[in-house]
Subunit: 341 residues, 2 copies
DNA sequence: GTTAGCACTCATCACCCTCGAGTGCTAACG
DNA sequence: CGTTAGCACTCGAGGGTGATGAGTGCTAAC
């Protein structure tokens, strides 16, 4: 059996309706809908076919039909007609993004808020992967007799810091000249080159071996391990408004997943194309999110590094809306952040 | 009518039981309890008195009794016997705190996790108020032709950064000497003094007026406005496990409050004594949290600045446990963070 | 002052019934 | 032959009922 024009039309009508109402859709409902000029009986026959093909499911006999994941896949691949945001909306979103604190993290934070606000789902943004970043500046700042703060600034304007021990008796000036040397040696180099440079530095700087060793360790750790703080989530309470999460247990599970940012990052950073990508239900590989869909896009900071922004919601998601919002915000975020660079 | 010894005993038994079960407590239950050697009938008379005095309430006739906020107040003020944490527990908590990233924010983050883990409620930590902090170091780092990152390190090891514009043609060295001058002038000064110094600087440095003006603006803003990111929340999903939040709407409201960090900070930063303070229900002045209790303690970073750590849970909270955990963690956090100083 | 006994209250739960939405099938229609 | 009307059937939701049991308040006896 093949899908003909009419089956597409009916399937689309069912999905559209289900996305709006979250209630199983009956033949009468579709029949009444403008654009589908058939009687309920005819629709029923078609629905029966669609069920056999795996696009629809019945919660129980005598309930309406509900779209399957397969149906959603077909929907987003073929049936979706791109929705435009009104210029009014675009403007409002952009505004919110710009007038916030001039710190990179602040911009990302408010981007998450804008996203969850505009879609009413939960938004997630992963900061740019540091692996693709370059070091711009390294600075040691004394904080006590025996400790100093090491501050690493990357080309995306992201700042990492950590406390390291320093041998006693090092003056602020000496720390500065070490900072300066480090900056000089490491700036604009990717991580592998940083390692090499360091090996060399360690060889040639016997007197500061300990300090440099510790500094390298920190830099490596900071650049490799992506920090928990680098996943930013907005509107975590939004999903509780949907009937899918009327059950408190489901809600709790969902929130628990959000708190383990490792999982989130793993799911989000699957690929880095600028295109909007959609993962429906089990496609996202995380059992706990099997009845969620995840829609992601990317944003660029400067020329090389990029991060991911996404929306998590029930599979019964307003894909149309979400896609256009993400598409727009991906570009907007890239623009705003690249100005800083 | 006055509260005699026996009424105290019974009230305490009721509250203890209710805290554990969340079910209205009947006279039989209390009678059976070891330590109270009276028959249900006697207990009933006492309970009736306690109800008249406003310490107990009945959800409906023929249900057991439930403690009122007034009862909780009495409970925490007079009836609570300090519980000790096992040394095993203390050790485990301390360990979690220490082995984490050496960044200040990282420590606070994991402290929040430890808190919510140990209590099964929602934990909140407010970073030290910057108003009481001193500047330790100021650094300008060029990020592009016309912009630079200004990094402010405080004596608590907290780092603030922002992007500012710089006049074209300023070399890295010039930026460094400006940094150096700023550090020299501003270090160890409280905010008011910073303003004065700046006025002077602006007078004497006509050529860099624009840059300095912008820098001052940023420093003032960062030191005054307390950033959204400075409120850290752990275990937001924990409360969903309690019957008080079986209703999804209540859960959503609660989570919405957590997301508006302004509210949280307002509630938490009421006072700064090192003592554990408890606010029950309406005492916390936030209508949305009227059936929550908030228990807070303080921690010190270095000598002057301090932050607040707290637990938010239902008024039916295990105060005993929460108080001892907070007390311990307040000290532990102070220790760990002050080492950095 | 304390307690046993008893009538009374009220939430909860299982059960049953009805109602209505929706289906599948069949037969009639164009 | 595709489409549609008609009809019996299914099943969940919602509402009413009665039994159950936890708990109370009162009274009288200890």
């Amino acid at each position: 059996m093949q899908l003909d024009e009419r089956k597409y039309l009916i399937l689309q009508a069912i999905i559209d309706d289900y996305i709006m109402t979250a209630m199983p859709v009956g033949s009468r409902t579709i029949s009444r809908k403008s654009g589908v000029g058939f009687s309920p009986a005819t629709i029923r026959n078609e629905m029966s076919d669609l069920e056999e093909l795996g696009y629809l499911a019945q919660p129980h006999t005598s309930a309406g039909r509900v779209p399957s994941n397969k149906a959603y896949r077909l929907y987003v691949d073929h049936l979706l007609k791109a929705a435009k945001l009104t210029s009014d909306e675009r403007e409002r979103m952009h505004e919110h993004l710009v007038d916030k604190s001039r710190r990179v993290e602040g911009v990302i934070r408010s981007a998450a808020d804008v996203l969850s606000d505009a879609t009413k789902y939960t938004s997630v943004i992963v900061a740019p992967k540091l692996g693709t970043l370059r070091i711009k500046h390294v600075q040691l700042v004394p904080v006590s007799e025996k400790t100093a703060l090491i501050i690493i600034v990357t080309n995306a304007g992201i700042v990492k810091d950590a406390v390291i021990r320093v041998p006693g008796g090092l003056s602020a000036d000496e720390l500065y000249s070490i900072s300066r040397m480090l900056t000089e040696k490491l700036a604009e180099k990717p991580l592998e080159a940083v390692r090499q440079e360091f090996a060399e530095l360690l060889r040639n700087n016997a007197e500061n071996r300990r300090l440099l060793g510790e500094a390298l360790q920190v830099i490596e750790k900071k650049l490799e391990s992506e920090d928990q703080a680098d996943v930013i989530i907005g509107g975590s309470a939004n999903l509780l408004g949907y009937p899918e999460y009327a059950d408190v247990n489901k809600a709790r599970n969902f929130l628990a997943v959000l708190e383990s940012k490792d999982t989130i990052r793993r799911v989000l950073s699957r690929d880095g194309s600028m295109e909007v990508t959609i993962r429906i239900g089990p496609e996202n590989q995380v059992p706990a999110l099997n009845d969620c869909s995840i829609v992601t896009a990317s944003y660029r900071v400067g020329d090389r590094s990029n991060g991911t922004l996404g929306i998590i919601g029930p599979t019964r998601m307003n894909y149309n809306r979400v896609i256009s919002v993400l598409d727009f915000m991906g570009r907007a975020l890239s623009d705003v952040l690249s100005e800083y660079k």
